[in-house]
């Protein structure tokens, strides 16, 4: 196909009997089931800018979430896309390819520039079939269209509210989706930005898209710009149709809009019950309105078709066909980047973000180096002395504990902080989870390794541990392994628990796991707790590091006094029950725990993202 950004077919959405139930858990009381939407129906056409309005709590956001497929659980009724039933599993993925959902809060990465964010989006969504210069052109075109050309080099954090909103729309427009859902696009914007935002939405709708947004108390001028209005009150639809006909509709029920009154405010007042009204009859009438509208629209459609028939029947038919069956055919859908390419671009982005936040990296490296030197100084030369073997025991324990905590704590917050952005980008199909996580992990892993080395090198040298290649390498291997595994568990607990709990649970568990091997021997532990001993990866790393220093036939330690109990390292190893330690097996175990944690992290993030 010659045009890299093809026109997309028009999409109409209609839905009937959509319900939504939630179960609320309350303190000391049985759970309560509550229906938020009581079977609403309606139809949203392409080329129209639809506003879903209603007082807060009426269910407008819920309706939007259900229509966009963001919420699935608890919803009922049928949603049809161009008259094809959209199933829960089958149609939804297809539907997501042709739609996008822009949430109320604008999640943009603060450290990126506008152009960078845009080109990342194009790279991710358009893949490598489209040459680079066309992508660049597209980015400039979109930025110009949304009035962001001037601030292309601004950092996203410095954008104003209106600009952020426009940027999040621009990011989604890259693939030119025929359906766009917006949750309260005007909330948080000042008057001018609101007007320009709605103008933009209208313009986008007129190009043939289906634009659906929720709206909260617009001004009268803004209100009249919408082409279709859908009003929800207490889970029922009380009006659907053009905004201009709204007042007369309510007038037929004896609800008169006062003079000088914003009709939008009047609508909200009616919906929230400031005027006496019969909700059921309103809902009934609104349904009738919808029917009339559908018939009228269909008629128009037919008329349209007849009008075109004379000279353009063939092509019209074709379009009809594609729009009915082939919504997501390869022809009209740009191919997204492959997994590897996604990974590459995300990794690049993460590197940029990390580089701009260099203070954090510097702090981490310096802290590690500093503490390494302090430890080394405190435990000077303990490694090569029979009398100080216990001190060395503690040094090794301390090093492990230090690396474990720093590894775990630095990444504990990375998922909770990123989660909102991740949800948005993942839902809008920017990338799959695997490349995202891989890019995240692969930024943190080398960083943590560098930090660990900054700590270990001075520490190892100053404490005069043996300089034998085999010992040095195994010692470092065990320490780096615990560091990485700790990082994996940090990711996992951050992904699994809310921050306050994760911050608390992480340290408690690591203290518990570090008891084994250090403060208690296997033979002393009660049988029921022995499994914990075995699964403690901390124990295995600690013992491994210690064994690598003293095990496998280390010669006698120098002793300045007449008698040193631990002159032969073997004696100490025997006492600690380390004689039969299997380094290879244990290091495999530690890394195994790390890999498992990564897998669980992936799984838990995946299930969180897909719990709709």
């Amino acid at each position: 196909m010659a045009d890299p950004f093809p026109r997309r077919p028009a999409v109409n959405i209609d839905f009937s009997d959509v319900t939504y139930r939630v179960t609320t858990w309350r303190k000391f009381k049985p759970a309560e089931k509550k229906e938020i939407l009581h079977g609403v129906s309606g139809e949203f056409r392409s080329g129209e800018l639809t506003a879903i309005m209603g007082p807060s709590g009426a269910g407008k956001s819920t309706l939007l979430n259900i229509l966009s497929g963001y919420t699935v659980r608890g919803s009922g009724g049928s949603i049809r896309v161009n008259n094809d039933e959209r199933g829960v599993s089958k149609g939804l993925e297809e539907f997501k390819k042709i739609s996008c959902y822009i949430q109320q809060d604008d999640m943009v990465r603060p450290q990126l520039r506008v152009r960078e964010a845009m080109s990342l989006a194009t790279h991710l969504k358009l893949g490598c079939d489209i040459p680079g210069y066309q992508k660049k052109q597209k980015v400039s075109e979109l930025l110009g269209m949304l009035g962001l050309a001037k601030s292309a080099e601004t950092y996203c954090k410095d954008l104003s509210g209106g600009q952020k909103k426009r940027l999040s729309i621009a990011l989604e427009l890259v693939t030119n989706p025929p359906v766009i859902f917006l949750d309260e696009p005007t909330t948080g914007l000042d008057c001018v930005s609101t007007t320009s935002c709605v103008d933009l939405l209208k313009q986008l709708a007129e190009q043939g898209r289906t634009m659906i947004c929720t709206l909260h108390q617009p001004s009268a001028m803004l209100f009249s710009k919408f082409s279709h209005l859908y009003c929800v009150a207490e889970g029922q639809c009380i009006y659907q149709g053009p905004p201009a006909a709204m007042t007369s509709f309510f007038q037929s029920f004896g609800l008169v809009c006062p003079q000088y009154h914003n009709p939008a405010d009047f609508l909200i007042e009616v919906a929230s019950g400031d005027y006496p009204r019969d909700l059921d009859s309103l809902a009934q009438a609104a349904d009738n309105l919808a029917l009339k509208r559908a018939i009228c629209l269909d008629k128009n459609d037919n008329a349209d078709e007849k009008g075109i028939e004379l000279y353009n029947l063939q092509s019209r038919k074709k379009i009809k066909q594609t729009s009915d069956n082939d919504l997501v055919s390869a022809k009209c859908l740009p191919k997204p980047a492959s997994m590897w390419l996604q990974f590459f671009h995300l990794y690049n982005r993460n590197l940029i973000v990390v580089r701009r936040d260099y203070f954090q990296i510097l702090l981490r490296l310096i802290c590690h180096l500093f503490i390494g030197v302090i430890f080394g100084y405190l435990y000077q030369n303990v490694g090569n002395n029979a009398q100080t073997i216990l001190a060395n025991f503690i040094f090794v324990y301390g090093s492990n504990l230090f690396l474990h905590y720093t590894g775990q704590m630095t990444v504990l917050l990375s998922f909770p902080l990123e989660y909102a952005i991740l949800t948005r980008e993942h839902f809008n199909r920017w990338y799959s989870l695997l490349p995202y996580c891989l890019a995240l992990f692969l930024v943190e892993v080398p960083l943590q390794l560098a930090c660990a080395l900054a700590y270990l090198l001075p520490g190892y040298y100053l404490t005069a541990q043996p300089f034998e290649t085999a010992r040095v390498s195994t010692f470092f291997m065990f320490n780096l392994a615990i560091c990485l595994t700790a990082q994996a568990t940090g990711f996992l607990s951050g992904a699994l628990f809310p921050v306050t709990i994760a911050v608390f649970l992480g340290p408690v568990l690591s203290v518990f796991l570090s008891v084994f091997g250090f403060a208690s021997k296997y033979s002393d532990i009660n049988a029921p707790l022995r499994p914990f001993y075995n699964i403690s990866y901390f124990r295995s790393a600690f013992q491994g590091s210690f064994y690598s220093l003293y095990g496998s036939g280390r010669s006698d330690l120098p002793c300045s006094e007449f008698y040193c109990h631990y002159k032969k390292p073997k004696v100490f190893l025997d006492e600690m029950e380390l004689r039969d330690f299997q380094p290879v097996q244990e290091i495999c175990y530690i890394l195994f725990v790390g890999v498992i944690s990564y897998l669980f992290t992936l799984f838990s993030v995946w299930s969180k993202l897909n719990r709709r």
């Binding site: 000042d190 914003n262 590690h368 503490i371 216990l390 503690i394 230090f402 203290v511 084994f516 403060a519």
Partner: protein, 635 residues
Amino acid sequence: MTAIDNLQHWRDMAENRIQNAAKMTMIRRQPVDIEFTDLCYSVPVSRTCNKLILRNVSGYFKSGELTAILGPSGAGKSTLLNVLAGYRIGDSTNSVLVNGETRDIKTFRKLSRYIMQEDVHQHCLTVLESLQTAADLKLGKSVSKEVKMKQITEILDLLRLTNSKDTYTARLSGGEKKRLSIALELVNNPPVLFLDEPTTGLDDLSSAQCITLLKSLARGGRTVICSIHTPSAKLFSLFDNVYIVAQGQCVFQGCGDDIVPFLESLDIHCPKHYNPADFIIDVSSGEYGNHHEKMVRAIDNGRKHRWSKKEEPPKLIRLDSGIDDIKEMPDYGCSSLDQFTILLSRMSLQIWRDWSNFLIKVIIHLGVGVLMGSIFYKYGNDASKTIYNFGFCFMSLILFMYVPMLPAIVWFPQEVKCIKREFFNRWYGLNAYYFALSISRIPFQMVQGILYIAIVYLMTEQPLEIERIVKFTSIVGLVTLCSEAFGMAISARLSIVNGIFVGPALSVPNLLLSVYGMGSSITTVPMWIRISMYFSYLRFGLEGLIVTIYGGAREHLICPEEEVYCPLKIPRQLMKEVGMEDANFWRSCFFMMFYFIIFKVVCYFILRQRLKRSRSSGLFWLIGRFIKTHFNLNH
């Protein structure tokens, strides 16, 4: 019906509401006028150069008027507001006049309230409770409960918050949050109100309501000054005085209706159907060519207090200075002790409401207690496992170091954000707040600690003597307190992400120093290290625990029959073995208290430095500035 009529009608309605509001029964306050001349403000951009944000601006804001500061983004309107409110001081010390006298920042802070752009409210409180706390804090005990309640009801009415008075603050909508922010500051009727972009983030209706409200407040004799971002014509018509900043200079000052004639006098013509506010901002940001210099000259950079079409500008009557009365005003609404009790009860309520968090922590403590208890089951009195019992003490210490510290690191930065507003608006002194904060957390921590100890102490069969149990608990308690104070001291300056790394990293050396000397007698440890061991509060914690369990007149431990020889049968022997033979319980307690106080004081000073934002001592400021220009510490 034309648009003009519509606007007129709307104005009338607003006026009506304003009239009603002015009749409220609140404390009468001295009106205050604010004048400033040749105000400059600069910020450091790099090592050598400063960026001038405000360039010699002047202006005059009268009481009883609603003043808007407008300007394109980045023009310096927020800075001007900050400087006038005293939130930032900079080089602007002597150029602000209050009622004709040089502003004394301390007195002025009693008069003015500053409502920031973001609305951070105390969590887990309802609107009514927030207002009650504010009233208690600001009006003091001299005002009776009924009067306070009456005022609160009035304010709730005025701000139309009556319907949502029992809603938790976290569940309010954006407009309601803003109104609550205003309501909280209205309680003791301040004569000067500063608002940073009160309408940003509100929808059309809410911002109209908000500005109407502000106007009604101004009518009551207050000086209301707000910065605002592109208002609609409707809102714009409500302002009595408009001050427009562009590129750090004043380009217009006067009535909103005078903007069009003003521009015409400079040969710039506003198109019909164009909002004059939008137009002048477009002009000043250079969209219609460079008129900036011309405009600045015409208004004399703000020295012309009201531009008017007529030759003679309306005479502005200067108020008599009433500053002397204000000087006698107390700093805060009530005494420090009252502040302390009010804050303490608020914090306790918040902790109580957050019960699920508490429950989870209790359950985890119980679980870990049982697990630790079963690992070290019956170790306490077994002579062959004395060294492992030592390990048990060490582990418990590690637990009680990390567990209070990490949540504090996460939670405290949020808290700081919240108190910034309340502190700046002089709800309470830092001392009272800090004491209340320190104390409110203690019972919560203690309950967790005691639960853990009760389980562990029994399961591991430590000596069941009342004295030892009490001592054991108090040492653990002290460690908990120290750790939390340590965590707070770290997070008082660092952001969450950095704090959560620095905290655990610094505590590991702390831990290692505490067991340093194990295996050898204390006398062999080099002097330097012995001194550095005094820096570790955990060292004292560990000494305290060991001396509690093994010190005093304790009988020899029981050596199990299957063991041939137990080297650590005599309790004293263990203390010697781990290098703690000269440990002393009271010394441990003393040093831990000492460190607790040190951490608290450090945290206090960092907090104070952050909240007051004044140039304290020269050196401190220089260091702070160096860090700010070289590292990105802002959060």
